[in-house]
């Protein structure tokens, strides 16, 4: 099977550097617009919840951040796996860039969850809740990935060893998702990610989805932006980076 030319170009650092450079402003603009629209819609226009009142409005932030934190892990693990199997350095660069972003999103998901938990469950933290535990474990997985990388001097080895860890850890992501179904607990069941009709009112559903899109775009914006830096650092001994730094178009 012949692959199209642009697919092969995705393995070329200068091409991806320029492509990312072209996409970053667009992604940034789309993320900002979606965030503004979704936040205004969710925080001002959507009606208050019958049970939770105004407090529920963190539903336009917390699930989205948690969703992106898991997506970040999958992006990291898949690109690390691609990098490991086909020995594509750019894929490793994507994985390395996704790790700190995912760590931040995971920490934010835990923080917003705690803030939501205080008024609704009466506690910031509940050890028996499987979702909190799974998200915490996801944070540990991100941190152990970063720690393992940091332990290696040789970047190539760090790439390949940490890729194995990332792929093994990805087993945890479905456990997070199914934990809600496996163990009954304080956490409300899934309100959107299920097959029958979503149990969220339609006037709340639209801003909910807009915010999911907003944070997803936001993640890729941060990813591509970080990837550019990562590429330049990894390719710093090549001619095109030298030309780039000297201000000449490569």
């Amino acid at each position: 099977m012949r692959l199209p030319r642009w697919f092969h170009l995705l393995g070329s650092p200068p091409f991806v550097y320029r492509l990312a450079g072209r996409l970053v402003p667009w992604l940034g603009a789309i993320a900002c617009v979606l965030l503004a629209v979704g936040a205004y819609w969710g925080l001002a226009l959507a009606p208050p919840d019958r049970v939770q009142g105004q407090v529920y409005r963190i539903i336009f932030l917390h699930p989205q951040v948690a969703y992106v934190s898991m997506m970040a892990y999958v992006v990291m693990a898949v690109s690390a796996g691609i990098g490991f199997i086909w020995r594509i350095k750019l894929a490793h660069a994507v994985a390395v860039t996704a790790a700190p972003i995912g760590t931040t999103f995971t920490a934010c998901a835990l923080a917003t969850g705690a803030i939501w938990g205080r008024p609704t469950w009466g506690t910031f933290w509940q050890w028996t809740d499987p979702r909190i535990m799974s998200e915490t474990l996801l944070l540990f997985l991100f941190l152990s990935y970063l720690a393992l990388r940091a332990a290696f001097e040789d970047r190539d080895k760090a790439d390949r060893v940490s890729a194995i860890l990332a792929v093994v850890g990805v087993v945890n992501v479905p456990i997070i998702h199914y934990s809600v179904i496996w163990w009954n607990s304080l956490h409300q069941g899934p309100s959107f990610m299920k097959l029958d009709k979503p149990s969220i009112a339609p006037e709340m559903l639209t801003p909910f989805l807009i915010m999911i899109a907003a944070f997803t775009v936001c993640f890729y914006w941060l990813l591509l932006n970080g990837l550019r830096g990562q590429i330049v650092e990894r390719e710093r001994d090549t001619r095109w980076v030298k030309q780039l730094v000297e201000g000449r178009e490569p």
């Binding site: 474990l137 152990s144 332990a151 860890l165 456990i175």
Partner: protein
């Protein structure tokens, strides 16, 4: 299969010659489980409640101590490279190493668990379930520890980081292991979590050696 047996016999013999080293996890297990009643209240009722968790977590931590015995010695004297070069599939070698870790480190811990469980005033009737859960959960644990050891085999000091790598991945074992034990403690049928532990073990033993083999290949490069 003969290669599997040969590696197991060799590693058991090596471990037996360094018996004091092999006994360290066991002693650590004893000391930690002795410290908990000192730190907590020594009343029988409370010990019974926390005992399940204490024994499970102590088992996890103690079995981590033996991770240098898995690949470190072989990597240092070069025999790991020979094992990787040999026509024996790497998965067989890795499975043999896992089997030795389980036999030499975890089996003694499990043998000690009934005594400790009784000292935590757990009922004798709960012991079979607890032992069964440990027997089903610990093969997965050995696979995970072998993975941690393989990932860090080329690091001079891998010990501190392996706990961070391995322990988050053991959470499902801990959840279902303690749940099964709790069911046993309260005379309820524990088949559900036990089946899940068995499924984890089958999954880990089938796929784990592939990841461990890949990590070893990167490590000795």
């Amino acid at each position: 299969m003969s290669a599997f047996g040969a590696i197991v016999r060799r590693d058991v013999r090596v471990a037996m010659r360094r018996l004091s080293e092999a006994a360290n996890p066991l002693l650590f297990f004893l000391v930690v489980t002795t410290l908990f009643p000192l730190a907590l209240s020594p009343s029988a009722d409370e010990l019974r409640e926390v005992g399940v968790g204490v024994l499970w977590v102590s088992t996890l931590l103690s079995s981590l101590l033996a991770l240098d015995g898995l690949f470190r010695g072989d990597a240092d004297d070069g025999s790991l490279e020979q094992l990787l070069l040999s026509p024996v599939p790497i998965t067989v070698t890795v499975l043999a190493k896992i089997a030795v870790h389980w036999l030499m480190t975890i089996l003694p811990l499990i043998a000690l668990v009934p005594v400790l469980a009784l000292s935590y005033s757990m009922p004798v009737a709960a012991l079979p379930t607890m032992i069964g859960a440990l027997v089903l959960a610990t093969p997965t644990l050995s696979v995970l520890i072998a993975l941690g050891a393989a990932l860090t085999v080329s690091l001079r000091r891998g010990g501190t980081i392996v706990g961070l790598l391995v322990l988050p991945l053991t959470a499902p074992l801990l959840i279902f292991g303690t749940r099964a034990t709790d069911f046993g403690l309260h005379d309820e049928p524990a088949a559900g979590p036990l089946y899940l532990l068995a499924a984890f073990a089958a999954f880990a033993l089938a796929l784990g050696p592939l990841a461990i083999g890949a990590a070893l290949r990167v490590g000795v490069e």
